[in-house]
């Protein structure tokens, strides 16, 4: 399980990257993160929305209420053009940390 600080720091690149794959809503995003991390990253459901709203206020993502096939309405989030740019920066920074750690721990680094 990740520490609280790391969960907070990694939420932005994770959310942006998930939305880069297409629009999504809160519940689906949490399921996806849980699945991809093999249960290592466990976000609390209620805390996800303040983060999403902050990203929206920063102009990185946008949102829209839509009717799902269940008949209920859901708020869907999707990436803005600024969000796409932000992913590039995030990617560079996280890979820089990752590669440095890999060198220190003598593991083969991932390609940038």
């Amino acid at each position: 399980m990740l520490t609280k600080d790391l969960v907070a720091a990694s939420s932005k690149p994770l959310l942006l990257s998930i939305l880069a794959g297409g629009e999504s809503y809160g519940y689906e995003i949490i399921q996806k993160v849980r699945e991809l991390s093999g249960g290592q990253i466990e976000w609390s459901d209620g805390m996800l929305y303040p983060v999403l709203h902050r990203l929206e206020r920063d102009g990185l993502i946008e949102s829209e209420w839509k009717e799902a096939d269940t008949g209920r309405e859901r708020k869907y989030y999707f990436l803005s053009s600024d969000g796409r740019k932000a992913i590039k920066t995030e990617r560079q920074q996280w890979l820089a940390v990752h590669n440095t750690l890999c060198k220190l721990w003598k593991i083969k680094p991932a390609s940038i």
Binding site: Y27, D45, G46, Y49, W65, E73, R74, K75
Partner: protein
């Protein structure tokens, strides 16, 4: 199939003990009690809760278990409220301002409308009283009747709304959905305002002519409200009426539109 036939009694027992809709309703009320959550946030959390319940149901859990697990996942309402306000303290005040400005504008327009109505009724009774030769004491009373009616008309809607809200008969969603459609809101308020001013213009002209023809002050036992497009012959400066009926409501309308929760603007019309 043989196994299924044993269940009905058990299922009925569960249904009497646990009602999912009631459970969601009471959870919703808990969220509504959180002052830091905007209505859009509450809708989003409710959609999440329903998705989580459906997810657990798919895994074979019953309604009650699914609800309690989903509720735990979403978190304590108070804690959620604190997280939301940390993320965006301004939005809560924006929504409060929106409701205040909307209420003031509606109350203002209603007050104008009620004013005209009472004036017309009261003055009609006065005219009729004069025509049918009633005593002057009775004619004086008709002016009080108009004022009393105006007070009633101003207080009754407020009392009605307060009682309905207190009894939980009106859901906040209903009002919010009404306001969610921006174009609908603007056209309602603007047409109300045009009607009020149009009627006032007409009445001011009419009353001026009546006063000239009959030369009788009793015809205007109750003063007419002053329209923005009133005739300049009236002794009251025209700019007072202009600021009261044109600038003030339009400024309030602009404020309402500016403060309207941004998420609601994107909300599609419910099918």
């Amino acid at each position: 199939m043989a196994g299924r036939s044993q269940h009905p009694v058990q299922i009925m027992e569960n249904q009497t003990r646990f009602d999912l809709n009631v459970a969601i309703e009471s959870w919703r009320n808990e969220l509504t009690a959180q002052p830091n959550l905007a209505s859009d946030d509450r809708h989003e959390l409710e959609a999440h809760l329903c998705d989580a319940i459906a997810g657990f149901r798919q895994r074979g859990l019953n309604e009650e278990e699914s609800f309690w697990l989903a509720r735990r996942r979403v978190g304590q309402p108070q804690q959620i409220g604190e997280e939301f306000v940390k993320a965006n303290p301004a939005i809560v005040w924006r929504e409060r301002g929106f409701w205040m400005a909307s209420a003031i504008l509606l109350a203002f327009l209603w007050n104008e409308f009620a004013g005209i109505l009472c004036c017309v009724i009261s003055n009609s009774i006065t005219s009729l009283s004069i025509r049918f030769g009633f005593e002057s004491e009775w004619i004086g009373l008709t002016a009080y009747f108009g004022t009393g009616l105006l007070m009633l008309l101003n207080i009754l809607p407020l009392l009605g709304v307060a009682i309905l809200l207190a009894k939980g008969r009106v859901r906040e969603d209903f009002i919010l959905n009404f306001f969610a459609r921006k174009r609908f809101l603007i056209s309602t308020l603007v047409s109300l305002w045009i009607t009020v001013n149009g009627v006032m213009f007409y009445l001011n002209t009419l009353s001026y002519n009546n006063t000239l023809v009959e030369n009788n002050n009793l015809i205007r036992s109750m003063p007419l409200p002053h329209g923005a497009f009133r005739l300049t012959i009236d002794p009251q400066p025209a700019w007072t009426a202009l600021s009261h009926n044109l600038i003030f409501p339009l400024l309030l309308l602009a404020l309402v539109l500016w403060l309207m929760p941004p998420q609601n603007r994107k909300t599609p019309n419910r099918a």
